[in-house]
Subunit: 171 residues, 2 copies
Amino acid sequence: MSSKPDLAINDVISAAYRLHAEIVGAGDAVAGQFGLSAARWQVLGTIARGGAASVPDLARVIGNARQSVQRLVSEMLDEGLLITIENPRHRRSRLVEMSARGRQSYEAVMTSWAPHAASLGKKLPLATSRALARDLIVLARAFREIADQSGRAAEPSDGPSSSSPQVKHEP
Amino acid sequence: MSSKPDLAINDVISAAYRLHAEIVGAGDAVAGQFGLSAARWQVLGTIARGGAASVPDLARVIGNARQSVQRLVSEMLDEGLLITIENPRHRRSRLVEMSARGRQSYEAVMTSWAPHAASLGKKLPLATSRALARDLIVLARAFREIADQSGRAAEPSDGPSSSSPQVKHEP
DNA sequence: GTCATATTGACAGTGTGCTGCTAATAGGGC
DNA sequence: GCCCTATTAGCAGCACACTGTCAATATGAC
């Protein structure tokens, strides 16, 4: 039983790479019809589910580095997909909200996405989806442990740190 | 009808994003100790398993665009991790092989990786790994169908052949 | 109130992957 | 031998996400 588990892990890694690529590809294809990308769709979706939020908040929910999201948001502000509003809790860190155009684009994408989501739901039994999501999270944690053990100096001064900014798409 | 399956799909997508990020993070952490990155480790591993191969062959096996792999290979050639050898079947398309230094780095990474792989194997029962890999592939195919249905031109003149990501960013 | 610490905005740089294009080569049909 | 198509190398440009850094602002301990 020495090498078999290793090979199985290899297959899982390979499959995870593929799946990620296909998800992004599908996201870009669907959102691209309306001038968005998968990443921008994700930003709009996070705001749609959780309401106006600061850039660092968005980054924490999405699970990316603050700077990555900030760049996306800056471009989307320039392009009129987003607007900022006053943040009562922080003078400098304004809240990001969808503009009318942003909301319009987002709703168009979601309308186009709906039948695909339904199709996916049919292909994957609910129990399987749940088990899958759970297993993927367990695996992700295991890989994070590996990263932490292997030459990750200390905590990065910025960004999502090891106590995991648990991503939870709002119910 | 319920919106539950949609949410479950959302969770799976979110988990897949997370897993991919952690896999790359762990790969970079492990390979980084020896001056490699996850992507370069993958190139070396593909050569280690399949022998010398042309850049397009590597791209097909890895599942990325030819140009992505070509740039990685070009840089790795410059850095002395790879060498090229004559291709008896194609005058221009030389085969890529590991240099002595590349092989040394690769083996160092694999040695460092082994205990982590064993640990992952213990955490994940073999049957679970297999089922997981299978489910991920099924899901990846489903997402590919979505991308194919949503605004896609026919076959691109270039790119990974049989089962690969195509189409991003439509202007 | 004052100060140390954490958070945030902003900018620069890097790595990976994608698309699009042109020119050179291989291979098969005639 | 000659042409047509597919494959290939090589280059340029874009999207996305990462790290690093600095100054400005909040926050909490005292």
